[in-house]
C-alpha cells in the first residue's frame, strides 16, 4: 500500500486545486486503482507464492507437500484477502465505458454477474486452497494434494464466468455505435474469451501441452491475455479522457444534451 | 446457369474440390500403411497450402485488395507451411 500512498500526495500538492476539481475524479480514482491491483495480484501469485507459473500437475507427492507447506503462501493469502476487493473496482471501471455504449444494459449486467461469480471461484478460493495447506502442516499428503489440485484447477480451469463476461464485453464493443472503444479491441476480446474455452482440457490431462501448466493451455493463453489486459487498460484510459464534460452524470443541466435523459430515467 | 458455371469462382471451386479428392486419394493410397511417408506429407501439405491460397485469393477477394493485405495473407500461407514442413522434416 505504502507505494502508491506515498506517490499520490506529490502531484496532488502541486496542482491541488486542479486535481480536486477534476470532474471525473471518481473514475480516475477507480482507474488508477487498477494497476495497483494488478501489480499486487502479480506479486501475490508470482514472486511471493510461486504458485505461478503453475507447477506441474504430475509433481510427486513429496514435492507437492513441500510446496504446500511454504510459509509465503500464507503471506500471499493475506495480501490477496486485503486486495481482492479492488477487482470489482477495476471491473466497475470497465463497466462505466460499456454503460456509455449504445447497447442494451443487459450487456453490462452480464459482465457484472460474471465479475461477481468469477471473483471467488477464480481468485479467492484457489488462493485459500493453498493457504489452508500451509496454515496447518499437520494434514496428510492426501488432503494436501487435493488442495493443490483444487487450487490449480479452480484458478486455471474456471471458465464459464469469465467467458460470459468477456463475451458480453466483446459484443458490446462490436455492436456499439457510439465508438467508445475501438472495434478491433472487441475482436481481440473474442480471442481472449476463446482462450478461456481452450483451457478446458486442463481437467482431463496431467502432462503435455494441454495440462494446466502446458504450452497451449497456459503459456499461449498468457501471451494473448497479458497484452490484452494492458491494451484494454490503455483503451479505457483514452475513453475516460475523451469523454466530453457535457456527457458526465454530474454535468450541469444546461450542458447536458437531451439524449442523456433516457439513460438516467430509472426509478428510485 | 451457364453464367454460373463459367464464373471464375466456380472454376476455382472445381479446382479446389478436385485437389481435395486427389489429396484424399494420395493419403488413402500412399498412406494406407500409416507409417511415416514424406512424399504423402509433402504432397498433401503443399496441396493444402495451394488450397488455402486460392480461397484467400479468390473467395476472400484478396486478389483485389491493397498490397499490405496481399502480403500479410500470402506471408501467412508461406510462413505457416514452411514452418510446418520444417518441423516435420526436423523431427524425422
Amino acid at each position: 500500500m505504502s507505494g502508491t500512498v506515498a506517490m499520490a500526495p506529490q502531484p496532488a500538492a502541486e496542482h491541488a486545486t486542479s486535481w480536486r476539481k477534476n470532474r471525473k475524479l471518481d473514475q480516475w480514482i477507480a482507474f488508477w486503482s487498477v494497476p495497483f491491483f494488478f501489480n499486487l495480484f502479480g506479486l501475490v501469485f508470482v514472486p511471493l507464492s510461486w504458485m505461478m507459473p503453475p507447477r506441474s500437475p504430475g509433481s510427486t507427492t513429496p514435492h507437492i507437500v513441500d510446496f504446500m507447506h511454504s510459509h509465503n503462501l500464507l503471506i500471499a493469502c493475506v495480501i490477496l484477502t486485503l486486495a481482492y476487493g479492488l477487482a470489482p473496482v477495476s471491473n466497475a471501471c470497465y463497466l462505466m465505458q460499456v454503460r456509455r455504449m449504445s447497447v442494451s444494459p443487459a450487456f453490462r449486467y452480464s459482465m457484472m454477474i460474471g465479475a461477481i461469480t468469477g471473483a471467488i471461484v477464480g481468485m479467492l478460493f484457489p488462493m485459500f486452497c493453498f493457504g489452508l495447506g500451509a496454515f496447518r502442516p499437520g494434514y496428510n499428503s492426501g488432503v494436501l494434494t487435493m488442495l493443490y489440485d483444487f487450487g490449480y484447477l479452480a484458478f486455471i480451469g474456471s471458465l464459464g464466468c469469465f467467458c460470459v463476461m468477456w463475451m458480453a464485453f466483446a459484443l458490446a464493443i462490436i455492436l456499439d455505435e457510439n465508438g467508445i472503444l475501438p472495434k478491433w479491441l472487441g475482436y481481440y476480446t473474442i480471442w481472449q474469451y476463446v482462450t478461456e474455452l481452450m483451457a478446458a482440457p486442463v481437467w482431463i490431462v496431467k502432462t503435455g501441452p494441454f495440462a494446466w501448466n502446458g504450452l497451449m493451455t497456459f503459456w499461449f493463453a498468457m501471451t494473448l491475455y497479458v497484452p490484452w489486459q494492458i491494451i484494454v487498460y490503455v483503451c479505457i484510459y483514452r475513453a475516460i479522457k475523451n469523454q466530453p464534460e457535457a456527457e458526465l452524470d454530474n454535468a450541469s443541466p444546461e450542458l447536458r444534451p437531451k439524449t442523456v435523459e433516457f439513460r438516467s430515467g430509472t426509478s428510485a | 446457369m451457364t453464367a454460373l458455371i463459367r464464373n471464375p469462382l466456380t472454376i476455382v471451386w472445381a479446382l479446389l474440390t478436385t485437389v481435395t479428392i486427389v489429396s484424399s486419394l494420395i493419403a488413402l493410397d500412399g498412406g494406407a500403411a500409416h507409417q511415416i511417408n514424406t512424399t504423402v506429407t509433402t504432397a498433401v501439405l503443399l496441396i493444402a497450402a495451394v488450397k488455402a491460397y486460392l480461397v484467400i485469393r479468390h473467395f476472400m477477394e484478396v486478389r483485389r485488395a491493397p498490397v499490405w493485405l496481399k502480403a500479410t495473407t500470402s506471408g501467412w500461407v508461406v510462413g505457416l507451411f514452411t514452418l510446418l514442413l520444417s518441423f516435420y522434416f526436423a523431427s524425422l
Partner: protein, 203 residues
C-alpha cells in the same frame, strides 16, 4: 493504414468497389484484424501440433488411422461449396441482384449447416468407442482444434443468418456488411483446409 480507412466508408450501397490502383479491402477492416489474428492463433496451434507430433510419430500415426477420412473429405467439400456460394452471393449482392444473392446465401447456409451435422456423425461414434480427448495427445489436439473450429463454424452460421435477414429486409443492403460476413466464412474454410491436411491426411 490510410487505405483501410477508405476501404470501409459505410453505406457504399450497391456500388462496385473501386478497382483503381490501391485496391479494396472487402468488408470491415476490423474484421480483417480479427481474421489475420485468428489465422496467427491457429497457426500457433498448427505448428504446436507439428512439433508434438514430431516427438511421437508412432502415436500420432496409429491414432490417425482411427479417424473417419470419408466424413473428413466430405466435410471439406461441404465447406468449399458453401464458401463458393457465399462468394457467388456476395458477387450478386454487389451487382444489386438481391434475389440471386438471397438464393445463393441460402444454399451456402445449407451446405454450412451440414458441416456440424456430419461432425456429430463423426464424433459420436468415436467418443462412444473410447476415443475421447483424454485418450492421448493426438486426440486432444483433434478435439480441441476441431472443437474450436466448430465454434467458428457455429458463429459463421449465425452471421450468415444475419446476412440473409439483412438482404431480405433492408431497403439498401450494405455490401460492406455482406463482405464482412463472407470474409469470416472464408476464413473458417481456410482453417479447415489446413486442419484436414494435418489431422487426416499427412503421414
Amino acid at each position: 493504414m490510410t487505405n483501410v480507412a477508405e476501404g470501409v466508408t459505410p453505406g457504399v450501397d450497391n456500388s462496385r468497389p473501386d478497382d483503381s490502383g490501391r485496391g479494396h479491402v472487402p468488408g470491415d477492416s476490423s474484421m480483417w484484424f480479427f481474421v489475420i489474428g485468428d489465422l496467427l492463433i491457429f497457426g500457433v496451434y498448427f505448428v504446436g501440433y507439428m512439433y508434438f507430433r514430431g516427438q511421437n510419430h508412432e502415436l500420432f500415426l496409429q491414432s490417425q488411422a482411427r479417424l473417419n477420412l470419408d466424413i473428413g473429405a466430405i466435410n471439406t467439400v461441404m465447406l468449399l461449396t458453401s464458401s463458393l456460394f457465399v462468394a457467388l452471393g456476395t458477387e450478386a449482392a454487389r451487382a444489386g441482384n438481391r434475389v440471386a444473392a438471397l438464393q445463393r446465401f441460402w444454399i451456402a447456409l445449407a451446405f454450412g449447416a451440414a458441416f456440424p451435422l456430419l461432425k456429430m456423425f463423426e464424433w459420436i461414434p468415436e467418443i462412444c468407442s473410447g476415443l475421447t480427448p483424454g485418450k492421448n495427445l493426438f486426440f486432444m489436439y483433434y478435439y480441441v482444434m476441431t472443437g474450436i473450429h466448430l465454434c467458428h463454424v457455429a458463429l459463421g452460421l449465425v452471421i450468415m443468418c444475419f446476412i440473409l435477414r439483412h438482404l431480405k429486409t433492408s431497403k439498401a443492403p450494405k455490401i460492406s456488411f455482406v463482405e464482412t460476413g463472407a470474409t469470416y466464412w472464408h476464413m473458417v474454410d481456410v482453417l479447415w483446409l489446413v486442419l484436414f491436411a494435418l489431422l487426416y491426411l499427412m503421414r
